[in-house]
Symmetry: C2
Subunit: 162 residues, 2 copies
């Protein structure tokens, strides 16, 4: 992993439809080695997958709700079951176990408040929860799947920018 790999990743995070030849040109390589690097990073699992990103408005999921959850039971079994149940809901798009006073945090996407209420009822019907509090996002100012690559660990620390 050097800065060429990083440059490739940067571009593929933005647009994975880029032809290898174009990518190579932008990176400053010829197509063959560029292609090989991509292959390697896919094998190594650095590149997980390539997906299509949809417009939330167009698919009628414009509302994001953050759901903070506190629980009584802190057993492994409960966590396992809780994870499974929550994972089944396609509205739950992110799901974290937290430190601090909140135990779990969900990001839920739905068309509107009414749909959130319906989701909420379905959720608590499936599993017991001590305390739930919902915070509604009024606006999504930034959302990106691009991870910062500045922290990547590179093999060689040669000169160069980017």
């Amino acid at each position: 992993m050097d800065r060429l790999d990083r440059k490739i990743l940067r571009l593929l995070q933005e647009d994975s439809t880029l032809a290898v030849a174009d990518l190579a040109k932008k990176v400053g390589l010829s197509t063959t080695p560029c292609w090989r690097r991509i292959q390697k990073m896919e094998e190594d699992g650095v590149i997980r997958r390539r997906v299509a990103l949809l417009d939330p408005v167009k698919v009628n999921t414009r509302v994001t709700v953050f759901v903070s959850i506190r629980t009584n039971t802190h057993s492994i079994e409960w966590l396992k079951r809780f994870s499974e149940v929550v994972g089944e809901f396609p509205e739950v798009v992110e799901f974290y176990r937290m430190s601090g006073d909140v135990d779990y945090l969900l990001r839920v996407v739905v068309p509107d408040i009414a749909a959130y209420d319906a989701f909420y009822k379905r959720l608590i019907a499936r599993i017991e929860i001590r305390d739930v509090s919902s915070a509604f996002a009024m606006e999504q100012i930034k959302y990106t799947t691009e991870l910062p690559l500045d922290y990547m660990i590179l093999d060689t620390q040669k000169s160069g920018e980017d």
Copy 2:
């Protein structure tokens, strides 16, 4: 937009490298009309872009921090400047304006706590904020870019499953 389109979107959200022919087979179409539907959905902006998703661990950003921000000044100008400044940080991967007692919520990805502290200092050096509180995620139980398509508005409500 009918259930065939939805089926196509479902598959492309999982894997955008699928060949049109394979996609068509899975959906129950022949390649040409399937390809045309995809084109249309790209033109219409339903499909925004195709991107590569990376492994957070492999690119050294395993830690997620949720940053809750309260502000004094609630002017449009402040919001504009704040948005710009925050948007410049690649570590900020999501950024919402919230209702309720928190004004803004950020999701920040970094390698470790130390890096978060450095990020935090850089942030408050750039802009004045009344109150900041950080919540660390111990575990990412679920993360998906797939939006639920069950709420999609379809042209025809014919019979069928999926």
